[in-house]
Symmetry: C2
């Protein structure tokens, strides 16, 4: 079978068998069948358990050989000693894609290492590919499938995720910013980052791929695949185990071997992969790439409600490789005419005095529209106030931002501040193309990285 | 009058007069009287307006001379040309503390500079001290006063704030993490950072002071005051205008003169002030200092639900000057006995396999209690899951964390991840002494900075 065919079995199976599923279902049981039902998976679900006849309302067979054909994907969660034998049974049954979820293999002790090797031996006899062990498996919101036993958030967003730990599946909101398709390679005993990257890189529904890796195996193949993918969509990678202590811990987490960190840097650079060093950067960048149009240059227009904010933006623009646009005079005329006589406007455009004279909507829409229209502007950063509901009617610019960000093909990031930001952030994130950011500096970092990626991409042509 | 007496007039006035208050009140009017009422200010409020007799239900007099004595604090928001004259009227009336809120002075143009100088001349004739211009004024949650016209969040928290921009008052949640007492020095024409620091540094209800500065004037006096304050409580400062473009913008925002950034570094270092370079660091650190007991050394115990998380913690511990505690064997015995045989536990303590066998509460409380009890541990970082409500009953450790963090005099930071974090974060932030953090790395950065501050403080003894 071709690699792509295995990709279909793992990511869009028509029939799934769970071997070693919990007897109970409902809250607290952590039964993966509950997740599949919640999602509305439309394929066939079969269950294997030696001692019970029904789980979660579904019939159960006592062993793999008793399953009805065909089974595209088997998800195994039985004790570690049983795994090589069950892989053999799967092979005989014609199953070619297997996820081994449980822990206790190469990451644990010598017996675990031995069992992992035996499991791979059995698999190779039948042409089986194994994802894991020590994994939550896969998730595909577009196919409404999820093999994880942990309840989590899945949405049809253009974000792919490849990781070596369940924490990225469960904490996807905090660590990635969303996930449409995810592959947890766990111990990475067979299906690896390069394989998953090849599968996900071909999916036209994805606009960005996030990678969490504790080891980059098969460096040469990784570079080949990652470069090809990066030419189409950005790959944002968090490689952990940078520190000595972290590298030692990675060995006992997924059995990973540490490489010198500067080698990882070189590999990523060659492949066009965007490296991040902290999780907050990863979630910010992935959200930015998933939502915003390209940042085609380093020139930023800043629409601010605060002079101090403008200065903070300028400080971080220098740090992250951006510069304030030289605005055409006509782009400033509108907002200048709304401002007090003593005000000399520049970029950052401090619109607060105009807001005090003419109200938020008028000042904000004038400044934002003229800035977005200026050919010297590649992207825009702005600030929006969030007040209690009664005040927000007078002080909120979210509708203006939504309308204008949809009308221009330039990225717009918005930092929201004030006493009641939740509703405003939610409204901006739900509609329109503007992106809310957790801090002023995060907004700059996102646009700066997007500009750098675009420059790299164009340099290849 | 002594400096401290002026401090009382500005921060705990028994009687306030607003000169140039808006005619309207209610949502959209941005009338400071609405804020004072919402707060329940118990002092006397008087209003001055030339054309109306009643505003927001309060009687209005036409000029300053018609106010009833005594007036501790006057808040002036009339057009800039009128300000020097009104200052003179205030002087004749015996008012000694004045806030000038409006913009258009030294930051704006030469006429503004001239008016600022004339205003200061008038003030000096009467021994008046001026806060501003270009300021939201002061806020004191303990005295239930707020001179700002912007609606915002005020709480009796042990956090002081000194800033040069209203964005820090209005965005206090996003930029500082709360504010009990705040002073916006605006253009810093008279009352400056050192003055405000002297006032706030004496307040025993405060446990940390945040500073936002575009310029450090009177370097020598600043060092004297800041060092004295820093010996008692930490001062966390964000000095903006680091970049060339930022420094130029600061000149037109508050009329600030830029100093070379390495001089600012040296001044802060000498004064024991903790410098931050991004707003997210400031909010994280201020929250940490305000809530957590001292971090008395660099040794951290990590209780994690994820091996990958443990590695991320180790990577950032190296970066932020912390190290994993060498735990005594007896601190590991409890959790070891709950874990599978193949598991070899160390620090970070990966409790997930024990959770799978014995449930969240038992595994978490065993590991956290034993870690906090270990004399080699100066502080603890842990991870808590946040799931939909029905699952959270089985998977949440927030009660365990609350109880144990209250019982030990060591800082505990918690990173919450999962599909429904809002409720769990809120519960942890409302009760107990543990601190929730926005990312794993932020938790490490907070403890690392707290350890560095404690070391500096002890080195002075």
């Amino acid at each position: 079978m071709e690699l792509a065919d295995y990709g279909s079995l793992f990511l869009t199976p028509k029939s799934v068998a769970f071997v070693g599923v919990p007897r109970k279902s409902g809250p607290g049981a952590l039964n993966p069948v509950d997740n599949l039902r919640r999602w509305g998976y439309e394929g066939r679900i079969q269950l294997v358990h030696p001692h019970v006849h029904e789980i979660a309302g579904l019939p159960v067979v006592p062993k793999v050989s008793a399953l009805s054909d065909p089974v595209d994907l088997a998800v195994i969660s039985t004790p570690r000693e049983t795994i090589p034998g069950i892989i053999r049974e799967c092979g005989r049954k014609g199953i070619r894609a297997v996820i081994v979820t449980i822990q206790g293999f190469a990451e644990a002790d010598s017996r675990g290492k031995e069992l992992q090797d035996r499991m791979l031996d059995e698999a190779s006899k039948f042409g089986i590919r194994i994802l894991g062990p020590n994994t939550l498996g896969i998730t595909n919101a577009f196919h409404r499938i999820d093999t994880s036993f942990m309840p989590s958030v899945r949405e049809e967003v253009p974000i792919g995720l490849i990781c070596q730990s369940g924490v990225f599946f469960v904490g996807v909101t905090q660590l990635i910013g969303g996930m449409g398709i995810g592959v947890d390679i766990g111990n990475d005993c067979d299906v690896g980052i390069a394989d998953a990257l090849e599968w996900l890189g071909q999916d036209q529904r994805l606009g960005v791929i996030a990678v969490h890796a504790e080891e980059i195996r098969e460096g040469k193949r990784f570079i080949e695949v990652a470069e090809k993918v990066s030419r189409r969509i950005p790959v944002v990678a968090l490689k952990t185990g940078r520190s000595d202590a972290g590298a030692r811990a990675a060995a006992s987490h997924t059995g990973s071997m540490a490489a010198e960190d500067r080698i990882v840097d070189a590999v990523f650079k060659k492949a066009g992969v965007i490296r991040v060093n902290e999780t907050q950067d990863q979630v910010d960048l992935v959200r930015g790439f998933a939502r915003l149009p390209p940042m085609r240059g380093p020139r930023v227009g800043v629409v601010t409600l605060s002079g101090a904010g403008g200065i903070i933006f300028l400080d971080s623009m220098e740090k992250y490789g951006l510069k304030p646009s030289k605005l055409h005079q006509q782009s400033l005329n509108g907002i200048q005419s709304l401002s007090p006589d003593w005000m000399r406007l520049g970029n950052p455009i401090d619109i607060w005095p105009a807001v005090m004279k003419h109200g938020m909507r008028k000042a904000f829409s004038t400044a934002l529209k003229d800035t977005l229209s200026d050919p010297n502007v590649d992207g825009v950063i702005c600030i929006n106030l969030a007040m209690p509901e009664a005040e927000q009617k007078h002080l909120g610019a979210e509708k203006v931002i939504q309308e204008l960000s949809d009308r221009f093909d330039k990225p717009v990031v918005v930092w929201v501040y004030g006493s009641h930001p939740e509703e405003v952030v939610k409204q901006l994130d739900t509609r329109g193309r503007a992106l809310t950011v957790p801090s002023m500096e995060a907004g700059v970092r996102i646009l700066g990285t997007m500009a750098r990626y675009e420059k790299w991409k164009t340099s290849l042509v």
